[in-house]
Each structure stands twice: as C-alpha cells, then as structure tokens.
C-alpha cells in the first residue's frame, strides 16, 4: 500500500486485518498455532451456520440447477417427471434475441449504479464526517429510503417519472426543458431505473463507508495537514487508500445486490418497452413467472448465469485481497 504518512504499527494491523473478510487472506498477524481443541471449538461455533446453510440454501440451489437442466413444462413441473436435457436450456437462452441486450443492460446497469452509489455514498460520508450541527440526525434520515417496501419506493418513482402526471416532467417544463418520456421511451427507460436504484443504494454505501471513515484516526489528518497537504490531497492520499479494504467489500456486496435487483425494474418498466431495460434478473423472472405460461427451465438457466457471475467476482475479490495482504 502507498502511504505518504507513517502509520503506527498496531493500527495498521488492525485496519488491514479488519479488511481480511472471510476469505483466506493469511494476514500479517502473528502466525498462531492451531491446536486441535481450537479446531473443534471453531467448528462448534460454525456448526449452526453450516447446518443452516445446508438446510436452507443447498436445496433451493439444487432445485434451481435441476430446473435449468431439465425440460420442464407446466405439466412436468407439477407431476415431476421432466426429462433430463443437459445444457439445452442454456443453449436456448444464448440463442434468444433478448440475450445480447439483456447482457448489455445488466452490465451497464450494474457498473453505472455501482459507480454512482459508491461515489455519492463516499462524498456524503466524507461530508457528514465533519460533525457539524444536526449531522447525526441528517445521516440517520438518509436511511429512510430503506424503510419503504420496494413496491412503494418503485411505485413512487413510477409516479414521479410518469410522462403525463409526473412531478419531474412538471418541474422540467417549468424550467423550460422539454418533457422526457422517462419510463416509456426505449432510450430513457434504463436511465430511469438506474436513477431509482442509485437512490435506493446510496444509504447502504453511506452507512458502510461512514463507519470505515470512523476507523481512520484524526491524528493522521493532522499529521498530513502539518506536512502541508490541502483538503483534496488529504482525501486522496490518506482517506482513500485507508478506505480501500472497506471500499472493496462495499463494492463486492454492492455488485451482488445490484446483480439481483429485480423489483425496481419490474415495477417501473417491466423490463420494457421492447426489452430496453431488461436485465438478467428481470428476464429470469419474466421467463419463469411473468407470463401466463411459465418456462421454468430457461428462467432458472438465466438465474444460474447470475450466480456464476457473482461467484466469478467473488473469486476475483478473494484473489485481490490475498495479493494486497501479501504486498
């Protein structure tokens, strides 16, 4: 890591090992001997979660895999005798004309949402870190979007962005800009759902990044100020590098949650018009549940693609963590 100021040793360990999350990063802590009794105790502590995982996640995961590897009609879904067809469902969705747009939209949606959620969350966290009057209350109020059930937040955004009676277009009209068909135009539908999703995602980023900021001691800023660094340099050279582990986990979790986003898009645009805001998550739902004749196989196949994508990014994260810890 690049430090322009020297960190007292035990803090660096705490900050860095605080970042070694669940992955197998060796860390720089003193290599502890692992007696057998500790191993047993450890697995004793882990037993409830492991049983929990096997009981409640293994079965749905298996079902999802099973759904994607067989040819399920409504009849065989109910009666239970679907023939095994290997990768036929996957081939079917790769050949589907919706595949390429859905892939593109998923990528764009995820990247743009992550960038904006992170940037806005970080900016707000830094801003609120200055502890002016009311900062604590205002920071708490920023979490209010979370309290709303997604059907309500998505519906509220739908209302605000309505082409006829929406307040956003009314304000634009008042300022002299031509109204935009936010939800009904293929060019704007993806932007609209991105805006709504960023709004919903900012509180999460704010909370996590803010607490990350708490662990950076004020003495470092003072030292940097004495060295002559201005506000921007202090942020870039002190805050940002020290936030890296927290940022990494925020981005990874944000990626997983954004890949899964479905309700917002479905309620606002149903993935349309003309598939212009369809992502893998909405496509999977539409295939399996969003029409009168469910196609469970292809729906599950698309869902599994998302799981694989998340696993890949998880691996990347672990790899990056390990490299950082060793550096």
């Amino acid at each position: 890591m690049n430090h322009t100021t020297k960190l007292p040793d035990h803090r660096s360990e705490r900050v860095r090992s605080g970042a070694a999350i669940a992955a197998s990063a060796p860390g720089r802590t003193i290599k502890r001997r692992r007696p057998a009794s500790t191993q047993w105790a450890a697995w004793g502590f882990l037993a409830p979660v492991t049983v929990y995982l096997v009981l409640f996640y293994a079965y749905p995961l298996y079902r999802n895999l099973d759904l994607s590897l067989r040819d399920y009609t409504v009849r065989s879904f109910v009666q239970g005798d679907a023939p095994f067809t290997g990768l036929a469902n996957y081939r079917r969705i790769f050949d589907d004309p919706t595949f390429a747009p859905a892939l593109l939209h998923t990528a764009v949606f995820t990247v743009v949402c992550l960038v904006f959620q992170y940037a806005i969350g970080l900016a707000l966290a830094v801003f609120f870190n200055q502890n002016f009057r009311l900062s604590a209350t205002l920071r708490a109020l920023f979490l209010v979007p979370w309290l709303l059930p997604l059907i309500v937040s998505a519906s509220t955004w739908s209302w605000m962005l309505n082409s006829e009676s929406g307040v956003v277009d009314a304000v634009l009209h008042a300022v002299g800009i031509a109204p935009v068909n936010w939800l009904t135009s293929p060019s704007w539908s993806l932007t609209s759902v991105i805006i709504a999703n960023v709004w919903i995602g900012v509180p999460f980023n704010l909370v996590v990044l803010y607490s990350g900021l708490q662990s950076i001691p004020a003495s470092l800023y003072e030292a940097a100020a004495i060295d002559g660094a201005n506000t921007w340099q202090r942020f870039w050279r002190v805050t940002f590098p020290l936030l890296r582990p927290v940022s990494a986990i925020t981005l990874l979790l944000g990626l997983i949650y954004t890949l899964k986003v479905f309700d917002i898009i479905w309620i606002m645009t149903k993935g349309g018009p003309a598939d212009s805001s369809t992502t893998f998550a909405t496509w999977s739902y539409q295939l399996g549940f969003g029409n009168l004749l469910p196609a469970f196989g292809p729906g599950a196949a698309v869902g599994n693609l998302l799981v694989i994508a998340a696993l890949v990014f998880g691996l990347v994260h672990v790899r990056v963590q390990r490299k950082q810890a060793l550096s």
Partner: protein, 415 residues
C-alpha cells in the same frame, strides 16, 4: 505451506459437495409427492384473487355460509391475481392444492394442461346454465374445467361534458374514422382525447384485443394486414397526441384515474369501473368499442372461473362440488356479481341484474357478444401469442419498430 492449505481447501470443498449431493438425493424423492393435507379433515380450502375483500366482506361471509351449508369448515386465502397461477402450480407440485380455486379465466387452460384441475366428468359439476361464449374459456380438448363466476368486458366510457365542449355528437362515432375525427375535435378544443392501457402485461393484450378483433384480424395471424391497421390506429393516436404517452405504462386503474381527472373524452375500460364512474363528478356514457368499418367490435371476456383442483383423496370432490354450486347458484351469483361489478354468466341472473340496474344493459349486451381469449381451442397457445402481441404493441408505440415489423416478428416468435 501453500500447497497444504490448498489441499485443505479442496478437502473442505469436496466435503461440502458431498453433503450437498446427499441432501439432493434425499430431497429429490420428496418433490412431487408430499402428503401434507390429511384427507377427510373437515376444513376445505378456497383460494381466490380478491385480496381487497377481507374477513368482514360479503364475499368472505358468503364463502363461510356455503361451507356451513355443505357441512364443512372453509378456510379462504386471497392472493394477488397475477401471482395466483404460479402459486397454484407450486402448491400442486407439493400436493397442497386448494379444494376450490377461483382464478382468472385465461389461466384455466394452463392449469388444465398441467393436470391441476378436474373436469366436469370427474367432479360432477353442472355447467349447463352458463352462457356458452363465457364457458368456452374454460374448455379445452372437448372437456370443461370449471364454471365462470361472472364476466366483464371492455367498452368506451366517454365524458359528456368534454364532448359537448368540443362539439362532438356521440351518435356520430360509429367506426374508426369517425372516432379519430372526434378525437381530433377534442384536441382542438384543448382537451385530451382517449386513454387506455398498453402496458407490457396481459392487461395490455386485453385492451388491444377489441381493436385487433374489430379490424377483422385473428389471434393466430398477428401479421395480417388488418392487425397492422389496428396497431397503426393506436400508433397514430399517440403520434397526433390524441392518446398520452403514459399509455405504455398504464394499468387499467391508472388509465381510469387519468379519465377521472376530467381531462379526457374517452377511456377504454371495463365493467368494474361502473361504480367509480358514478363517483366521477361529470356526466358519463358508455359506448361499445366500434369495429373498423362500423358495428361493435368483439371484446375479450374478463372475469374468473371457479374450478376444483385435483386432490389425492377423490372423496373430497363431492363436497367441493357442493361448495362451487352454492357459490354459483342464482341468488349468490347475483349478490357476488353485484359486489364485483361483473355481469352474471347465466341469462336468468343477467335479466335480474338489468331489472335492478338498467345501466347494465349495454354491458350485458357487450358480454353476450364477447369472446374468451383462450376460446377457439387456443388454450395454452394463447399465453405465448399474448406475450408476443403485447411486446409488439410496446415496440410499435414506443417507436422502436414500425407496426408492420413489430407484428411480423411477433407472429414468427409466437409460432
């Protein structure tokens, strides 16, 4: 050190996979079976898509009364209508189907195909009194899978005040040309023309069907010239500003709310809005949807079917059949359909409804002329066609494709 830790990781992974595999084999024997409902228990389950009716509502009380009459306890659960089909499939898979299922009529053929519903031959239900055009939605392969609880359909509501201010005589609106001319006049007078729902769900298809059928096109030929003319009609309305852009996202409720604001001359909406129309605060009228060259267009039938799902214990059908008969008997039908704002499915109750409320006459006539979406033995082909149709409507109205291209694509995808 690195290799041993990698080895340890692999061992752990292998153990996890083994555990998963064992769980999988154990669980796979369990799916599709499931003996969770004890036969012969005195409680019969009824599922319906009316979450707006809670325990204190007349509908709920009626269900309980029918249960008492049949000598059993009844447990009623309400679901969101768009979700009920899937929940039924899931329940059927696990052997947990309800005893009586009330479900939207286009879903009946899907459930029948899945083997979830019994036929009238199995459950001895008497469906002879129901109007044939309404019963057709629940019939495939020559078998009948349920009976309608009521029907609704679409027509054009119009705002008398707006039309008067624009100088439009409603009697002049007879076909598509005269309708478009009326819309032009309304726009010139500073008001808005027509609102409807073209959303990318079954509701959108439902609203487009009267125009499709009114042009003379068929559901099996989405790319015919007549179908293209129907879609072009809608597209031109949007282009000229006679219909708002919000139709692309409107549900029928939202479209009604636009009409209720008093700015619109016409709204394509259904029988169930009759009660709201009275509250609207302006003079309103109802007009059957005109066909392209005059006359009334065939409109699709909405409304639910009462069905009896398959059970492991076939002895339950006798009581379920009693429940269904009670729910769809003359007096009960009259009360239920009045609450739901539906038209009754039998002529005797229809006459009673019109006698009590003469405003229902145009609706009764419309329902008699209406067509089921899954009729003509389309059955489970309909959902596929419907999905392509609403996609084509969305593509054309949003400008991404021309109506001709959109419908050609829809037709090839729906085959």
């Amino acid at each position: 050190m690195n290799t041993t830790s990698r080895q340890r990781r692999l061992t752990a992974a292998a153990v996890t996979v083994a555990a998963l595999a064992i769980t999988a084999t154990a669980c796979s024997s369990g799916s599709g079976g499931g003996d969770a409902k004890s036969a012969g228990s005195g409680t019969y389950t009824v599922w319906d898509p009316y979450p707006q009716f809670d325990k204190t509502s007349d509908w709920s009380k009626l269900v309980d009364q029918c249960g008492t009459k049949a000598g059993v306890k009844v447990k009623r659960t309400a679901f969101d209508t768009s979700d009920l089909g899937n929940k039924t499939l899931l329940a059927a898979q696990q052997g947990n189907s309800p005893d009586v299922l009330i479900v939207d009529n286009p879903v009946v053929s899907t459930l029948a195909e899945a083997g979830v519903l019994t036929t009238t031959a199995d459950n001895k239900l008497d469906t002879s009194k129901a109007d044939p055009n309404l019963l057709a939605a629940g019939q495939t392969g020559g078998k009948t899978y349920g009976t309608p609880i009521g029907a609704n359909t679409l027509a054009l509501y119009y705002n008398k005040d707006v039309l008067k201010a624009a100088g439009v005589d409603i009697a002049s609106v007879k076909d598509w040309t005269s309708l478009t001319a009326a819309l032009a006049k309304v726009k010139k007078a500073g008001k808005k023309g027509i609102t409807f729902s073209a959303i990318g769900t079954e509701e959108g298809s439902f609203q487009f069907l009267p125009w499709l059928w009114g042009s003379g096109a068929k559901l099996t030929e989405l790319d015919s010239q007549q179908a293209v003319s129907a879609l072009t009609l809608w597209k031109d309305w949007l282009k000229e500003g006679y219909a708002p852009n919000s139709v692309l996202n409107n549900t029928q409720t939202t479209s009604w709310q636009e009409f209720a604001s008093g700015d619109y001359a016409f709204s394509e909406n259904g029988t169930w809005q009759l009660a709201n129309a009275k509250k609207a605060g302006f003079g309103y009228g109802v007009l059957p949807i005109p066909a392209a060259a005059g006359g009334s267009a065939a409109a699709p039938t909405g409304g639910e079917f009462v069905t009896i799902p398959v059970q492991k214990d076939t002895g339950r059908y006798a009581t379920s059949q009693k429940l269904v008969t009670c729910l769809t008997s003359g007096d009960n039908l009259y009360n239920t359909d009045t609450t739901l704002s539906y038209v009754a499915p039998t002529s005797e109750v229809q006459d009673k409804q019109v006698a009590a409320n003469p405003e229902l006459k145009p609706w009764v006539d419309a329902v008699k002329a209406a067509k089921g979406r899954t009729s003509d033995d389309l059955g489970t082909k309909y959902p596929k066609i419907s999905e392509q149709m609403w996609k084509a409507v969305q593509s054309a109205l949003s400008g991404s494709k021309s109506p001709k291209d959109a419908l050609s694509e829809a037709q090839s995808a729906a085959k």
